[in-house]
């Protein structure tokens, strides 16, 4: 391409800056799976059984057969401010799980079974994530989340006073374009109930860019195989957890209290195939097993560290089915 002024002869090695331009590390590494800006997915757990404890002495506790548990999942993670010295993402997430009982529940059945059969479980929340690089190697990640979790519907949304808050702080080092790691702490409902945990964060891509690791421990671990520009294969686990308010307004369950919290936590061991339909539209197909960690009911929301032996109001046995998840995603490559 011919230049207006002709090719200039410049000794580039001896140039100097006219102004200071501090270098900052970026929030991503080479080879990492694309960031999902908008994700619309469907999650399906295959048939399994639910065996709840009675909520009051002598109360109903029949085992139930579930044909499936399924629902839509929507996630938005939008970069509202993105410069080399600061990155701010705001997010919205919605997840619904509808439990399909083989036999519809009756008013005489266990309250948890009835709540799941009626409206299922819904999560609606917002997140704010800040990536603040300090220089070319060091950075902070700060994340806040606020979620409404319960057996409500979008037509009759849960009161804001039941909002559950989460937060994480990570201090990290970006060693090079293929590795970044960090340590921090989180206020989380990952185990179902409120807990405070240490966090280890690492993103790594091998030198030949064929494989990598992506982890936020203890929540998530993934081995990544970069097959080509359009295909990634991931193998790993994720812990999903939250506390869900079971609404007893108007006393539909005939209980002398209205502060039921379902402590749901599960381990999902899975394989994922990510495929680029276009450079910005990716399909994600996931299959694995869902192992129940907690599906127990407490009275009230309180700090429950690992090993806490405060008895639950009612414990639940939930069998462990296969699950599938498919999503279509608008990504930032």
């Amino acid at each position: 391409m011919e230049e207006e002024e002709g090719e200039m002869v410049i000794d580039y090695a001896n140039l100097v800056q006219t102004e200071e331009n501090k270098a900052f590390c970026s929030s991503r590494i080479l080879g990492q799976q694309p960031m999902k800006i908008i994700s619309l997915g469907y999650d399906l757990q295959t048939a399994h059984t639910l065996q709840p404890d009675p909520f009051v002495p002598g109360g109903p506790a029949d085992a139930e057969q579930l044909n499936n548990a399924r629902g839509l999942r929507l996630g938005i993670n939008y970069p509202v401010y993105s410069k080399n010295d600061l990155l701010v993402n705001l997010g919205l997430n919605y997840a619904h799980t509808q439990y399909a009982f083989e036999t519809p529940t009756l008013v005489t059945d266990n309250p948890l079974s009835r709540a799941l059969d009626n409206n299922g479980l819904t999560t609606l929340g917002v997140t704010a994530t800040v990536f603040k690089p300090l220089n070319i190697k060091r950075y902070f990640i700060v994340q806040f989340g606020a979620n409404l979790n319960g057996d409500y519907t979008l037509n009759d949304i849960q009161a804001l006073r039941y909002t559950r808050y989460t937060a994480s702080v990570i201090y990290g080092i970006k060693s090079n374009d293929r590795k970044m790691w960090g340590v921090g702490a989180t206020r989380t409902y990952l185990g179902g109930a409120l807990n405070y945990l240490p966090v280890y964060y690492m993103m790594y891509t091998s030198e030949n860019k064929k494989w990598g690791l992506e982890m936020v421990l203890p929540a998530r671990f993934q081995y990544r195989r970069n097959i080509d520009d359009k295909n990634l294969f991931l193998l790993g686990w994720e812990i999903e957890g939250n506390t869900y308010r079971i609404n007893n307004d108007g006393d539909p369950y005939g209980l002398p209290f209205n502060d039921l919290e379902l402590r749901r936590a599960e381990l999902r061991v899975r394989a994922t195939w990510e495929h680029a339909l276009t450079p910005q539209i990716w399909l994600s197909a996931q299959a694995g097993f869902r192992y129940n960690w907690s599906f127990d009911v407490d009275r009230g929301d309180f700090f429950r560290p690992f090993g806490d032996d405060t008895p639950y109001l009612a414990e639940t046995n939930l069998s462990n089915p296969a699950y599938f998840n498919i999503s279509i995603n608008w990504v930032s490559p």
């Binding site: 207006e4 002024e5 100097v16 800056q17 006219t18 102004e19 331009n21």
Partner: protein
């Protein structure tokens, strides 16, 4: 009325002072050719020379210097498609409109991705280069580039 008469000279003085100061402190209009030169992205590992295409009002940019021009084996660095990074045309087809260089693209040789791009001049020695997924610049990232000069 008397009050207006008293304040008028002061107001006029402030107006002229402001007009003079803003002109002097860099409020001069941006010209299309102001972008021509050698620039360093914030990462500091490369220089990009922006030039005007002969006979057209179109601007492009070429990677003219790399901090590490060779890979570990001593061969010239290449992108994932095997193209040499040095002398690569990574900014293409910018036109000047409303004090910005628009309608161009930027190629990131590290990732092999091409983005929509808009360039804004903060001052004569500093650019804000925004690469985005969409042509409107809604989802993207802005990097600061500074002008390089001979020592």
């Amino acid at each position: 009325m008397k009050k207006w008469n008293t304040l008028a000279p002061l107001t006029l003085s402030l107006f002229f002072l402001y007009s003079f100061a803003s002109k002097d402190l860099g409020d001069a209009a941006t010209e299309p050719g102001d972008i021509v030169g050698v620039w360093m992205p914030s990462e500091g590992t490369a220089y990009v020379r922006i030039f005007k295409e002969k006979g057209k009002e179109v601007y492009h940019g070429k990677i003219v210097w790399l901090k590490e021009p060779n890979d570990a084996e001593g061969n010239p660095r290449k992108d994932d498609q095997g193209n040499p990074i040095l002398n690569m045309l990574n900014l293409r087809d910018f036109v000047f409109e409303d004090d910005e260089w628009v309608n161009g693209t930027i190629y990131d040789p590290k990732t092999g991705n091409t983005y929509y791009c808009t360039i804004e001049m903060v001052n004569k020695n500093k650019l804000e280069v925004r690469g985005s997924l969409d042509p409107f610049g809604i989802v993207g990232r802005t990097d600061t580039w500074v002008r390089m000069k001979t020592n």
